[in-house]
Structure formats: C-alpha cells, structure tokens
C-alpha cells in the first residue's frame, strides 16, 4: 500500500497546463512559407496591390511633363511597404499586424492615386480575399482544414461583400442625386442573386 512520497518537482503544481503553449510545438511542414495556403495568400496580396500599382504606372506623369514626382515616389514606397507586409503576413499568419499594414498600404495608395469606382471595388474585394486567405493559412498551419466546411462557414462574409460592393460601385458611378436609389436597387438585386445562388 505504501507508495513513494509524491515528488512535485517537475510537475506544474497548482494545476494549470495550457495547451496553447504546447500547440506551438506543432511545426508546419516545409518551413514558414511552404505550408498551408501561402501561395493563395501571396496571390491575393498580389491582386490587392496590383490595382494601385497598375493605376500608378498608367497615371504617373511622364518625365518633363511637369507632374509631381514626389507623389510617384511616395506611392512606390507605400507599395513596397505593402508588398513587404504581404510577404511577412504570409510568413507569419498568426500575427494580424502585418495583414492590417498591407491593407492600410493599399488604402493609402488608393488615396494617393484614386482609380475609378470599379478599381476601388475590385481592390476592396482583393483585400477581403487576402485577409480570408491569411486566416485560412493560419488555421491550416495549426491543423488540417476541411476546405468545403471552411468555405461554408465563411459564406456570410462573401455574401455581405457581394451585396455591398456592387451597390457601392453603382452608387459611385452615377450622379450624386441618384446614388442612394441606385445603391438600394443594386443591393436588392445582389441579395436576390445571392439568394438564388446559395439557396
């Protein structure tokens, strides 16, 4: 009946052992960029930055035309920081700071060189896709993800974006007096289309 005296040494007495700390031991296969959905993240980030980059390339003043070269330089710096943030967010999806910085850089680039409403909408959709891709990548690094279940769980986000984006684009494309009715009409139409698709 006599068992050896308990030896608390080595055991975490007081009884709290976190799994979160231990789950950090799960190393992603293939290094930081080779696991999960890093390629999806990079693709979404590239699309996100591509719109302001393309606008910048087309809208920059030609040398000697008298435009402001400072804006172009600033835009280039912002886009470079955005690209770096995309890469870092893909490498370390657990931290949301880099993803937020990438989106902020994109927004700043759009402020510096405003595109058409369609470009803004596409860029916003690309931002959303990038954020969702980062989320998927992060989850995939901590364990296997059932993609169809994941997409089903995130369907409300896609539906929300699908309703608001066309409405906003349409509202921005018409005269100000018509923007609200047009936005409402397009929004309702988008809702109907989404209801038909996801019924």
């Amino acid at each position: 009946m006599t068992a050896p005296e308990p030896s608390p040494g080595g055991a975490s007495s007081g009884g709290a052992a976190s799994a979160g700390a231990a789950s950090g031991d799960v190393s992603p296969a293939g290094g930081p960029l080779g696991a999960g959905y890093s390629s999806v993240c990079l693709a979404a980030g590239t699309v996100m930055l591509a719109v302001p980059t393309a606008i910048a390339l087309t809208a920059l003043p030609a040398p000697g035309s008298g435009g402001s070269p400072g804006t172009g330089l600033l835009l280039a710096v912002v886009l470079a920081i955005g690209a770096l943030a995309v890469a870092l967010a893909t490498a370390r999806p657990g931290s949301g700071v880099m993803a937020a910085l990438a989106v902020l850089c994109t927004a700043l680039a759009l402020v510096l060189e405003p595109p058409e409403a369609l470009g803004d909408g596409l860029c916003g959709l690309a931002c959303l896709a990038f954020l969702l891709a980062i989320r998927l990548h992060r989850q995939a690094r901590s364990g296997p993800v059932n993609l169809s279940a994941w997409l089903a769980a995130h369907r409300p986000l896609a539906v929300g974006a699908a309703v608001t984006t066309p409405a906003a684009i349409a509202a921005a494309s018409v005269p100000t007096a018509w923007s609200l009715p047009v936005a409402a009409l397009v929004g309702l139409g988008s809702v109907a289309v989404c209801a038909l698709i996801f019924r």
Binding site: P4, G15, A17, A19, A22, A158, V159, G160, A162
Partner: protein, 421 residues
C-alpha cells in the same frame, strides 16, 4: 461531458469598427467617396459575419484516464479530445487540476480547427477527490466572436499514503472477539493463565496431568483468551493549519489511515470518525475491503467547524463501541473538540491524543507584545496537555521529522485504561 460556450465580441472588433467609422467620416469630409467603395466589401463582410447565424454553444469533451483511483505520488495519463461547434475554431485549452494534481502536457495538437486532442501526465500530489476541469477558448463568426467555456473533464480519487506502523494503542478491556491480543479473560488460547480444580464439563485435553498426579486430584490448565481489539481513529477536521511537512489535516488523515491499516493488519476492528464540516464515520470492522471503505470515507473529509461536538453525545453511538481504544489526531486548537475528548474519557473510553500542530504563531516585527502573547499561547497549550494527562489521556506530539510509530510506541506499551461500565 459538454461545456457551454459564452460568446462575446472579440477585443479587436470595437477598435476596428471605431476606426472604420472614423475613416468613413474622414472620407466623407474630404469628399473622397471613391474610398467608400474600397471599404464596401470589408464592411459587407463584417456585417455578413455579424448577422450570420450565431455559432452553437456546446463544446464536447471526451476524456480517457489511465486510472481513476491512484495513491499519492502516482502518475496517470489523461487524454482529452475537445470538439468545438462546426465553423468555429478552438484556440486554446487550459487544464485546471487544483492543488491535488500537477499536470504536465505531453502533446497537444489540432486535428482540425474545431477538434483538439491533448495528452497530459497528471501527478497525484495530495489526497482527495480532484476534479479536472478545462478552460477552452474558441473563436467563431470569422473571428468576430470569442468564446470561453469551462468544462468538467473527469474526477480522480487520490488515496492518501499510509505509513507502515506497528505500534497501535489497544484497550485494556477487550471485547469478545477472536483476535490476537491476550486480555484478562480466560478462554481458548495458548498463553498460560493458571490452574484450577477440574469441573464437570471441562475438556479432558485441558487436564494438566503432571500437576494432577502430584496433587492427587484432577487439575486443568486455564489459558488466556485471544481477543481482538476495537480501535477508532478520530480526526479533528475543525480546522486546517498550514505548516511545513503537511497541514494539520493532512497529517491527521495520514496518521489515521496508518493506524487503521496497522490495526486491520493484526486482525483488529478499526473505524474512523472525522469531525469537521461534515461528519464522516465508519464503525469498526475488519478486512481489506473495510480498509478501502475507510480510504473512500477519508477522501471526503473537509475542514470546517460545523460539526465539531462539545461532548460525547455528539458522536454516533455505533461509531464508538464500548471498550474501543480511541486515537485522536488533533491540533488541539478547538476547545469543543478538547471538551469532547475529556467527556469521552470521563465516560470510560481509553484515549490517546496525537498533537499534529507543528507551527507556532510568529511575532510581528516591532510588536512588543507579540512574544509575550506567544509565550502565553505556549503556556495554554501546555495547560491543555496537562489537563488531558491528569485525566489519563496520553498526548504525543507528532513533530517534524518524527515517524508516527515513534509517537505512538510509548502510548502503546501498555493497554489503555478504560473504566468498566
């Protein structure tokens, strides 16, 4: 087993919504409506996630233990699988075991974002019923909601270890039970008690032929009966003083179990009474199964003064049979328990008291009167011991580093004197 998740907004949601509103105001003020178009998909996604159906609140827990009953010092393996509702994400799982168990994570991994499987090694540190719980953190609605759940995983019964002792006090008056002790009663035994003249009905094998031949008439040999004793251990759980080498309650439980084990080993009847928050008792009995009944009863002993009696009437009658030797484990701090012990002695029970208090009050630095108060406290304790000794109740102090056997041996040399009723 299931746990209920309490969902609430994630910490960042408020900040993001505030920043979004401020940005929208700035955009409108600057007349840059095109930027509203940029933010429209993100706002739509946010609204879609917020107004989507709320995630389920149930997190399922399945646990597997390598053993549900262990002794102090043993280690067991706990395997847990947590399943969060579909569409949510299990972020963290924290095992909470209380003071009785220590936990070391062996491996924790996500099978899917909703399913987490973990393995822990649990070390039994202190006797008692240890309830293992798990604090689970989840994330739902695409990260907008964060949930927390408290789940009961399993319960582990940790039995106290018993020191192996041989010295157990026994009463002078032994009951008519077959055992190993030589009492004053004559009967069937091997120990010589005396000679007497043959009476009709005496068995012929009892006739002492050499004596009969010398004296010219038949004499028979009388022998001492071999009887069993009844030993009751009493635990004073009216308080629990923390001290080095184990709290008073821990020492009491370990000591009581050691006495019960030693008594049962020599075929005596042993019982236990715990006086504390809830009275727990087991009437004296014998056998290995009874030992485990005692152990189970001791697991539920909790400190508290609710049931501390002030006289012998406070004890259940069946628990303290006539002629039983009573071994009291007490810090001698509760006057009601001391009065009850005195009352038991006056009613004829043979008692010994083991003082399990090792700690002393410490004087506060700079307080002039504290050393005097402590001296008075020591005098009071000496007075209590003197009072008990005057009544024929030996008191032994279970000091640090001493074995219980050393404490009980001087009190076990002679049978405990009780009074015949």
């Amino acid at each position: 087993m299931d746990g209920k998740i309490d969902w609430e907004s994630a910490d960042w949601v408020f900040g993001v919504v505030t920043a979004g509103v401020l940005a929208a105001l700035a955009v409108v003020a600057a007349g840059r409506f095109d930027l509203v178009v940029f933010g429209a998909p993100l706002l739509g996604a946010l609204a879609g996630a917020w107004w989507s159906s709320r995630p389920d609140r149930t997190v399922r827990v399945s646990a597997e233990l390598s053993a549900e009953r262990v002794f102090e010092g043993d280690s067991i393996i706990l395997r847990v699988q947590l399943t969060a509702p579909p569409g949510t994400e299990l972020l963290d799982a924290e095992l909470r075991t209380g003071a009785e168990l220590g936990a070391v994570p062996l491996g924790v991994r996500h099978l899917t974002p909703e399913v987490l499987r973990g393995e822990w090694e649990l070390h039994a540190l202190r006797w008692g019923r240890a309830v293992v719980r798990m604090r689970v953190t989840t994330r739902g609605a695409a990260g907008l909601l964060v949930g927390g759940a408290q789940c009961a995983v399993t319960e582990v019964a940790i039995f106290p270890n018993a020191d192996r002792i041989s010295a157990v006090p026994r009463p002078m008056d032994l009951p008519d039970l077959l055992g190993v002790h030589l009492g004053r009663r004559k009967g069937e035994g091997v120990e010589f008690a005396g000679l007497r003249e043959y009476q009709p009905g005496d068995p012929l094998r009892a006739v002492n032929w050499p004596v009969s031949a010398r004296r010219g008439q038949l004499y028979v040999t009388e022998r001492l009966a071999e009887q069993a004793a009844k030993v009751v251990t009493m635990i004073d759980a009216s308080g629990d003083v923390r001290q080095t080498g184990g709290s008073t309650l821990e020492l009491s439980v370990h000591g009581a179990l050691a006495v019960v084990q030693a008594a049962l080993r020599r075929e005596d009847r042993a019982g236990v009474v715990a006086l504390g928050g809830v009275v727990r008792w087991l009437a004296p009995d014998l056998g290995r199964r009874h030992f485990y009944r005692v152990v189970e009863a001791l697991l539920d002993v909790q400190p508290g003064s609710g049931s501390a009696p002030s006289n012998a009437d406070g004890f259940p009658r069946t628990v303290l049979p006539r002629g039983a030797a009573i071994v009291v484990f007490s810090p001698l701090l509760d006057e009601r328990v001391i009065s009850a012990v005195v009352d038991l002695r006056r009613r004829g029970f043979g008692l010994v008291v083991v003082d399990v208090l090792r700690a002393e009050p410490q004087p506060r630095p700079g307080a002039d009167y504290d050393p005097i108060a402590i001296r008075m406290w020591r005098l009071g304790r000496r007075g209590i011991r003197y009072r008990l000794a005057e009544l024929g109740i030996p008191v032994g102090t279970w000091s640090e580093g001493a074995e219980l056997d050393e404490v009980l041996r001087p009190m076990s040399l002679r049978p405990l004197m009780g009074s015949r009723r």
